[in-house]
Symmetry: C2
Subunit: 461 residues, 2 copies
């Protein structure tokens, strides 16, 4: 074969069948009774890595009850060449027919242009696109110009606890010049998009204590500041009428977008607004009034109430005047807001505005890490852009997204340049019933992944 | 015997043993496996009514699974005489040693001046004080100058569903000129007090709906008005910084206290403040700034949040942006606020202040009835005052209380004058473990109850 693309085309049917084979293994990391399936998937992937010509491949066992990593590498480009690290995850969410599936969740079923199966899009599409790209590259006489490492995680769907510890303890195993996190979505079937920004998080619980025990609201109501009332009075002071967070200093470290970036994001705004109407469907949009939807969810920070509780919340009514009430609060942070520093500003503000008739206590919870912004001009990003344009036939749009991908921050500790490349569609129902892909996404994905390695090779020589 | 008081004194030991007998019957109305005990208590009380000389006594069965009423009457004063209706309840709250009892809950135990047993104060103290007073009166040659009806309820602790229906269907059975509701408390061991005001209630649930389903707060946070946030913003506008309710028209129908009444209530304020410190013990008092504690809880209306719920409230954290949030809201009303009218004002106000970015829905719940204010100059009240002064050796203070006694409103449908006379102490742990009375409360109660009937007789001739 003269090119890896021709090789992939010639092996199209076999590649697809191997993808189906992996889909049939219910590698559910959240359910202990599927531990053997997860292990079987890991070993099958290890064998594949060796079969496609990687130098070595290893199943790395994790602490008892946790799911293994699979690591492979090909060092044939030599010590002076750059190294690309490919990250995917091979575990999947649980799935049962009773959840609303129209087909057997672990029996791949083709209907029209689509393939239905748990894991189809999240994320065995990526695992197999990437591995089949590596196979197509290594099958050539002219080998890749970059070394290749592959890390396949087995517990992305169940907390990713151990991969972070593994990276911290064995940074050399993942050391690379460029990493591609292959997971997630493109904007539309014919329109690729590249995430270059992810928000960071922090979180806390706010407790408001009033009387020493629950009281009868008849006996004492009127003589004590009801903790639910006090809590609402505190929380209602945290946003202003224009949708901005009122915590002093909250925006101090926020890097404002340049006009150029706002113009770039504006291109994706119509698609995001359409998605908002379909997915969110609230009575009206809301948010910081000077920003549009994509900016509000991708480029601007939030202070969000994720839970609130107090008093009697069951059926019927109890006229209780509760001893306490609580709220769960988290932020989505953007560069350069520090998770810890921002939390401290919130704590200070709450203590400042809390009335003396109640006692407040704030407990910091998980820190999901700081926001990430990827350099759109890096070799990794530009290689990804060229690869998408080749694979999809359209130049990708650029997107900042509101979520957080904790593994990105971990990998950025050992790799300078990172790019995130997903091939799925949001309509593919990741995590839900009837998860699916358009079958051509798989072939587009392989071509895109091949092109990416070639582009990095050309740009790092 | 020349007087009923001498009769009571002479039969002191037997009366007390009969009280102990009733205490040993675990007449728990909320637990179906105690139905036979409730029935046994009812029949024993019926027999007692006949034995003490009442004309008739009846155990009135209630719908399946509910607990009987016991009705007795003595019509010996003749058709032209006034009739007094005595109301008490003979059912009790559940009790088990593991709840924290230091003694067997249904084995009366005397320690020092106190008697410990479930039901000791709530409310077999009242049942037996009243019946033994009737016995002492009827044992005299000179019979009472008023006719006497007794109604003993068996499900006061489990909702009082059926007594209200019974009153509506058989008003003639309870028809009387004066009713004494014998339940509750005096202010202190040596200081009787009379409740002349009870607040009314209404209640509602407020739902705030935002996105069409729970969302990932990372993916969409910043672009949608979080329903928890919107709810807190609505609720925080319902009280002002001086503790007043901001709902337009909320106070329109509130009857302001005269200076004389405020002076009367001021006498009880030190004791209420002391109780507040012991029971409520919040960081600071709170409430309408122009009113003191007893006024805030007894004579002023409230708008109270009894429950709040939204998003994720379990252990740990979920960064959910919830589809809805809800609050349970109730009012304590004072004369002449209408429960329905006041609810409508709240509904109108919420709709007025609710932001267009969410949808609100308000569901009215139970109406506990309007506030009650008893005429302090009525024959019933003045007779009660004289009786307390006789029984306790101190003139009673007058009290408006914050709670509601739904049975009071029902009885006021068929009886013109009502007085509430409790003999217990709040330190008697009604509903809690180690429920108790000072033993002398029982004897004071009998004398007070005798005196009350005599006083009514003298004042209604």
């Amino acid at each position: 074969m003269s090119t890896p693309f021709e090789y992939a085309e010639a092996n199209r049917q076999r590649f697809f069948e191997e993808y189906l084979h992996l889909l049939r293994i219910p590698s559910i990391s959240t359910q202990p009774d599927h531990a053997a399936d997860v292990q079987r998937a890991a070993e099958w992937l290890q064998t594949m890595m060796l079969n496609i010509g990687m130098d070595k491949a290893e199943v790395i066992l994790m602490p008892a009850g946790r799911c293994p990593l699979v690591l492979g590498e090909w060092q044939g480009a030599g010590e002076s060449a750059a190294t690309v690290l490919i990250y995917c995850h091979y575990d999947v969410q649980p799935a049962e027919v009773k959840d609303g599936w129209d087909t057997e969740p672990f029996e791949p079923t083709i209907q029209g242009e689509r393939l239905y199966c748990r894991g189809a899009v999240d994320s065995k599409l990526h695992v197999m696109s990437q591995l089949k790209a590596v196979e197509s590259l290594l099958a050539q006489e002219e080998k890749p110009k970059v070394n290749i490492k592959v890390i396949l995680e087995g517990e992305e769907e169940s907390g990713s606890e151990n991969i972070n510890a593994f990276i911290d303890h064995h940074p050399e195993r993942l050391k690379a010049d460029i990493a591609v996190l292959s997971d997630g979505f493109v904007l539309d079937r014919d329109q690729p998009s590249m995430m270059y920004g992810l928000r960071g998080t922090n979180s806390m619980e706010l407790f408001v204590y009033g009387p020493s025990s629950d009281l009868h609201s008849g006996h004492w109501g009127g003589s004590v500041h009801n903790p639910i009332q006090a809590l609402t009075e505190i929380l209602a002071q945290m946003h202003d009428e224009n949708g901005y967070v009122t915590v002093p200093g909250f925006y101090d470290d926020v890097v404002e977008m340049e006009a150029e970036e706002r113009a770039l994001l504006a291109k994706i705004e119509p698609a995001i607004q359409e998605e908002w109407k379909q997915v969110v469907d609230a009575p009206q949009p809301y948010g910081e009034i000077e920003y549009n939807t994509i900016e509000r969810i991708g480029a601007r920070p939030t202070l969000e109430f994720n839970g609130i509780y107090g008093g009697y919340t069951g059926d019927g009514f109890k006229t209780v005047l509760p001893a306490y009430a609580l709220a769960k609060i988290s932020c989505r942070l953007v560069p350069d807001q520090g998770p810890q520093e921002t939390l401290q500003k919130i704590v200070d503000y709450i203590h400042q505005i809390a009335p003396p008739s109640v006692r407040v206590e704030i407990k910091p919870r998980a820190f999901g890490g700081a926001a990430i912004i990827l350099d759109r001009n890096s070799i990794a990003m530009q290689s990804g852009r060229a690869a998408y344009t080749f694979g999809w036939g359209n130049d990708p749009l650029f997107e900042r997204v509101g979520g957080s991908i904790p593994i990105a921050a971990s990998i950025m500790k050992v790799v300078d340049q990172v790019v995130i490349m997903g091939y799925g569609l949001k309509s593919g129902h990741a995590h839900g019933p009837n998860e699916n892909i358009y079958v051509d996404s798989f072939y587009k994905g392989i071509n895109t992944a091949i092109k990416f390695i070639e582009e990095v090779g050309n740009r790092t020589r």
